[in-house]
Amino acid sequence: MTDATKSLSRLSSSNLELGEPDKTFLDTNELIINMGPQHPATHGVLRVILKLDGEKVLGTECVIGYLHRGVEKIAEHRTYAMFNPYVDRMDYVAAVSNGLGYCEAVEKLLNVEAPPRAKYIRVILTELNRLASHMLWLGTHALDIGAITPLFYTFRDREEILKIFEKYCGARLTTHAFRIGGCQYETYEGFERDVTKFVDFVKPKIDEYEELLTTNRIWVKRTKGVGVISDKDCIALGVTGPVLRASGVKWDLRKAQPYAAYSDFDFEIPTGQNGDTYDRYLVRMQEMRQSLRIIEQAVGKIPEGPIMAKVPKVLKPPVGEIYHSIEAPKGELGYFIVSDGSTQPYRVRVRPPSFVNLQALDMMVRGQLVADVIAVIGTLDIVLGEVDR
């Protein structure tokens, strides 16, 4: 008996009653551990079961559904207009994008088009929301990896966006900013000034975030070469959004199939080459700058005119099906709506980007370390409200 086992056996016989100890309590078996659903780094109620060999990940399984509210079922029991606020509760950090996708899908089904002024307002608010979503992602993602400072910076600046939302429609998070056929609210006095002021304010701030992280040695070590996914795998797994673009695929629905007023603006699609966590970070940082470019162009030339198209008070789209998708901050957000000619949709299917992107987690973390799982969950930028619906 070695000293260590002797002391162990003494311990067990004295108060713990563990019985005779093994020769050594260390073994080399695979270990299955449970992460979440209550875990600060899973961004909500995500449970991941990890199979480990030491610190190496051999496989994962995601258990989701803790936040399932049956949004698609609710839609079948609400009128088209009544369901509109519900979509904000899916991806709650990008509520404006959800609303835009839903409103445009129903408009297509009704065969109406929002007036140009409404389209410009929609673009400005959606891009502001994209910035807010990316800022929240950056703050929490950096926090997960161990950099606490960016969280305070990004939340400070995101606050300015939420203030604009609050002044425009009264809500900060679940905005319900748009209506089927246009917007309910005219822009408030000084809206354009506020937005321009915000753009000027936030431009140097994005440089500031980059100064903190881009060349930071710890950040680079924790993100470079972590969670690599190739362009082919991305497409096969249906991954969209910044994750796809960081793998080198230049695909953005705003360019590929322009909606709202995006064809009027000049902007680029940033891409990466390596498809690792670091590239995804760079792509999102560039995207924030591109969003500012779009806002700058849009706010200077909001056309005059009505903000609502002529839509009937009671919406009864003709019998038919429609699929419409937009580029949400997380990827392709689609709505598949079936109308039976009544006031309520027969079926609403939401194609959530987070849900499909989360499927790639397993492939991205296999062979990596446990700590990298946290980094990869952060870099996928999932919102559980949207995964579970």
């Binding site: 079922k73 695929v249 598949f336 499927q359």
Partner: protein, 159 residues
Amino acid sequence: MVTRLKAQYGSGIREANTYLGQNYMVVEPSIAAELLQILRDQEQFDYCVDVTAVHYPNREKQFDLIWILYSHVRNERIRVKIMITDGETAPSSVSIWPAANWLEREVYDMFGIRFEGHPDLKRILLPDGWKGHPLRKDYGIIQQDQEWVQINLGIESGQ
């Protein structure tokens, strides 16, 4: 493309049309697996956007099962639809697009449609022991699996 496929399958393609500028095909379930494979390999629909279903309880073939596909090369979308009866299995497309894995599991969870050839067909959003498939039209909006709720949550009702 449609004429090419029609020449190959004839009446297997029951309808190929455009509504509001969106293309869709209604095909026989028997040729669905082969057709989906051809759409990916030859027609370059490399990205499976969504797999979903719609329930029509008054029809003989109760379910519409829909694949929404996109081609990066052609920048085009297409919807492939099959109609199946309750209890009939559908061909799985996981071997064609890995993306369909969770999407098919969700369809199974919500509608109870079984996919043949799916590697791991089990519930995804609802708990494993749950009874019933909520997106069927005969499932009420406040209906729940009382037994499951009582045993697992220790409460009388979730309402």
